[in-house]
Amino acid sequence: MQNQAIQVNGIEKSYKKLHVLKGVDFEVEKGSIFALLGSNGAGKTTIVKILTTLLKQDGGTATVNGFDVAAKPDHVRQSISLTGQFAAVDEILTGRENLIMIARLRHLKDPHQVTDDLLNRFGLTDAADRRVSTYSGGMRRRLDIAMSLIGKPQLIFLDEPTNGLDPEARIEVWKTVKELAANGTTVFLTTQYLDEAEQLADRIAILHEGTIIANGTLADLKKLFPPAKVEYVEKQPTLEDIFLAIIGKKEKK
């Protein structure tokens, strides 16, 4: 058994004249949380699409759970799950119906049992029979991630999982991601939020202008940056802390 869940070598991709990926290399260890950091339009989603077999690369190779994404896409799809940038839930169906649908498409023996367990685990039991269109952003994201967990995939892709969520919902998602990793699932996530990568990831890679310009643990990366920059990153959670503290006080009253 090899220890790498993902191996990417020299991946290139262009959209017409736009050269988005110019030779991307990285590896993701099994059971770890890997964060791909980059600004909007850096090509994070393109990498996710290539690794989840939605898009073919122009050059280079990528292996997911030991299978080449271009040559064996069916094998790759057996062992992965994708939670895309926009919540991939069916708004017209209820939360329960969404989960049952995915469980049936994964050909599980007892879709109803699996669904009940997940609803419970993600705190959606009370909302289970309401249409998803009535859900809040955080609930939608939780349902989205719950749908990705059906069939116990070894590797989960989360493309900007907290984009557009309020701070409370973000922390909920972070908790979920940490639980996943604690249970041995490999998590590949993309984000543009520095604190998110800092909070969650075992390893962080920074994608900039088509290549990985830095790759390592948080401690490794901290060494690369001048202290002033690190301080700025650490300031952000303080406002969040204040916000959450005020909210928390209000709720207690």
């Binding site: 799809r77 895309g84 940038q85 991939a88 069916d90 017209i92 649908m101 995915i102 049936r104 498409l105």
Partner: protein
């Protein structure tokens, strides 16, 4: 690949169930695809019908084939809409990254189109029966009618797929259906083409709806069908094949 193929039918069942829920939970869809054609039928029979000379004493019999085609044309606009919405939201990406056949979501929409249009056709025929529609057609003729309507639905569905995949806005995804909705008006669906001015008549007599309407009308009234049925079938199959090729090309490109 084997496991993927083995589950193709049950996966299609899941997709069908999903889209049928969308339809039954959308008042707008039900009103447009079933209530509106029925209202048109009521309007033409009880308001305008008295003034229309068709040479038959039962105008419901004359009108029904055209109404059925209009219902199908409005039904497939929603196929396009549902496909477009699926592409917009992330749900297609989720399906495509799952171990199911890549074409399952698309064929699910095509199957839903067939099933939902069949349901509205049956409902409209039942209402027509209450309004005095009578047919001397035997089982074989009814089967032939069902076959033509299914082919017509498939042909328009593949056009709808092209529209749904290539549209850039919700409005665009449904707009292509409006010309299709008007075709029955410029055909033998409501009035005999002999009553039209020569230019319009030439168009009416040579466009697909007229031959399809005439073929269905002849089958339902037990008249000899003649060439109409072959012309009708040629139109349906021709449109279906061309639209299918372009739709599959669009699907490979987009999804």
């Amino acid at each position: 690949m084997e496991t993927v193929n083995k589950h193709f039918l049950s996966d299609m069942g899941v997709m069908l169930e999903r889209s049928m829920r969308h339809i039954f939970r959308s008042m707008d869809t039900i009103i447009t695809v079933t209530i509106t054609p029925i209202a048109m039928m009521l309007l033409f029979v009880y308001v305008l019908g008295g003034a229309i000379q068709t040479g038959t004493d039962n105008y419901v019999n004359y009108l029904l084939p055209g109404i059925l085609l209009m219902a199908i044309a409005s039904g497939i606009a929603y196929t396009s809409y549902r496909l477009f919405m699926d592409m917009q939201r992330g749900i297609f990406e989720r399906f495509h990254s799952m171990p199911i056949a890549r074409s399952t979501p698309l064929w699910g929409h095509v199957l839903t189109s067939l099933v939902s249009n069949a349901i509205s056709v049956v409902v409209i025929i039942l209402v027509a029966l209450m309004m005095g529609f009578r047919s001397s057609a035997g089982v074989l003729s009814w089967l032939a009618v069902a076959g033509i309507l299914a082919l017509f639905t498939l042909a328009l569905t593949w056009i709808a797929v092209i529209a749904g995949l290539s549209a850039t806005s919700v409005d665009g995804a449904g707009a292509f259906a409006y010309p299709l909705l008007f075709l029955p008006f410029i055909s033998s669906a409501f009035v005999p083409t002999e009553s039209m001015p020569s230019g319009v008549r030439a168009f009416a007599e040579n466009q697909p709806v007229t031959s399809i309407v005439d073929a269905i009308r002849a089958l339902l009234s037990g008249q000899p069908v003649g060439n109409d049925i072959w012309v009708a079938l040629a139109w349906c199959v021709g449109i279906m094949l061309v639209a299918y090729i372009f739709a599959m090309r669009a699907y490979k490109k987009r999804a």
